[in-house]
Subunit: 324 residues, 2 copies
């Protein structure tokens, strides 16, 4: 008999795929929540059966978005704790409890992380600072909002962030807090870097050597910031750090649909020798990054390896907790 | 009695203003043509009267777009020659002939310029090159098309060029010649610079110290090209060189309407503390530019001053030819 997966797991997987649930933190919390619901609603009769279901649910969730590292890290967090319980012969209710508890813990920590990053990062923002940001990052916004709430007079330059205009979300969110915003096209980043004091951006994932994988366009902004001796601060929860990169793996740069760049009806009229390419991310080398702000504290990008070893040390003997 | 300006002058001025006539070369040729028509159709009875009309027409045309240097340069070319004739007491028909001839000469040279730039620039393109370009530049396209027509197997990466999508025009034009095109968002320029062999872009104007004023986003591409040791070649007719910069003047960076960035209906719903800024151009410093390809030959950006002195030497004793 196959494992019985609850409806909510499929629904969450679907929402991640079609990007109704988006942003590394949201995705991570959503998959933790999905495992929690599976444990809660499971009709399994034995811990063996429940464990089989959880592994199956993990695989379904894991396969939704290949590049969002926060997703497998959330699964790892929950399932690693589940695996320890399961292999030490926990009974059904103990295993269920372990999973529910681990998921709650992960969700709580990750929500706290944003707040902690805000507190830590805000110390580096000074009264009068003009800050440039790109895309929509909860962690980066937390830094700016915290500084603003502390009474620091800041202004934020937001890039529109083609092709999916996440800059609009950021601009409106910051404006709703009362922060004055300047909104520009991505290509204007160098023109406005001269009036910029700090760059604060988020990350999709961070590699073992401190390279930052983030929304396409991030690397250009970091590059011109470096050129201007403007500090680049990357706000990133520790679950954004990418364990597989410790073993040499490259992060896959997701290629998304060309119709995000050129609308479908328009693209259909284009000559066939135009190929529209739509990479979701680019890679910013560590030398363009001043600091990474995590909920554990500020680190230089080169210390990413320390975070990885501490958080995911078990990755060295590498097998996913949901694998046999 | 005021000077009698022919209808065509006003029509051309209007088309330049509303950007029906666009692109530095088109604009330059259009104002030369306007002066030619004024000279042809003038009902003036004396050279004095005709000269007054031409000065008046020049001012009307001059005031259409403040930042397009090709426009005053075209006026200078034609009116400088007219002024020499006029001040040496040319009669009505000689002055008329001088103006018509100078305008024809300017138009012919500027059309030839694109072709010459293509021939000269193509020598620097090698078989197998991947070229990145930005915006829509007739001169840059001429370089790529000429190389391709010579049988060189090239591929061109075109950035969409927000906010006005001129990259679409470029992509389709190159594709219509049979050239394979990769089309990307502006933010992806660094990601694709690794596979790029040469950057070829146009210029709106070039300053005395070799800085290139061009479509917003140009400077970011030049910067990352430099970072990658990829040559940046700027294709620019000599009438793009900016005489006033010899006298210290800064080029005005035209601020265009925010509704080019965010559609009007949408912008009206945005909070008032979001300011949308839309600079038309940015400035690329000479150190990021390998060569400027003019119709006179290839120069290092630092030799811009030589072009300026040679072409517009009279700018030193500065008064516009249509001024008293
Ligand atoms: N796909 C990738 N996954 C993980 N690390 C990468 C990837 N691409 C580049 N890097 C690292 O990020 C930096 C990229 O630098 P660069 O290619 O100069 O932008 C280097 O430190 C690489 O080791
Ligand atoms: N508006 C302007 N008009 C003319 N030259 C400029 C202008 N802005 C900057 N420059 C020159 O272009 C270069 C700009 O370099 P940067 O500001 O470092 O990008 C310098 O050589 C300046 O002299």
């Amino acid at each position: 008999m196959g494992a019985m997966i609850v409806r909510e797991v499929f629904e969450i997987a679907e929402k991640i795929k079609n990007m109704e649930i988006r942003g590394a933190g949201e995705i991570a919390r959503a998959v933790a929540e999905a495992l929690k619901i599976q444990a809660e609603k499971s009709k399994a009769k034995t811990s063996h059966e429940l464990w089989k279901e959880l592994k199956e649910a993990s695989k379904i969730l894991y396969n939704t978005r290949p590049t969002a590292v926060s997703l497998p890290n959330a699964l790892r967090y929950v399932m690693y704790r589940g695996k320890i319980a399961y292999t030490s012969n926990a009974d059904l209710e103990s295993l269920r409890y372990t999973i529910i508890n681990a998921a709650k813990e992960f969700i709580y920590n990750s929500e706290k992380a944003i707040e902690r990053i805000g507190e830590i990062g805000a110390k580096r923002i000074e009264d009068g600072d003009v800050i440039m940001t790109h895309c929509h990052s909860k962690a980066a916004i937390s830094v700016m909002k915290t500084a603003f709430d502390q009474g620091k007079d800041i202004k934020v330059i937001v890039t529109e962030t083609r092709p999916r205009w996440q800059g609009k979300i950021t601009a409106k969110e910051l404006a709703s807090y009362g922060i004055p915003v300047i909104y520009i096209v991505d290509g204007a980043a160098r023109h406005y870097m001269k009036m910029t004091d700090k760059v604060v951006m988020g990350a999709d994932s961070i590699t073992a050597n401190g390279a930052v994988i983030n929304q396409i366009g991030t690397a250009l902004i970091a590059l011109t910031a470096k050129e201007h001796r403007v500090w680049v601060m990357i706000a990133a929860e520790t679950y954004k750090f990418h364990p597989e990169t410790m073993l040499g793996q490259l992060v896959e740069i997701e290629m998304r649909d060309p119709t995000e760049v050129v609308p479908k009806e328009e693209l259909e009229t284009w000559p066939k020798n135009i190929e529209v390419l739509n990479p979701a991310f680019d890679v910013t080398p560590p030398e363009y990054i001043d600091v990474i702000i995590t909920e554990k504290g500020v680190i230089p990008p080169y210390a990413a390896i320390d975070i990885l070893k501490e958080e995911f040390g078990w990755a060295f003997k590498y097998r996913e907790p949901w694998e046999d």
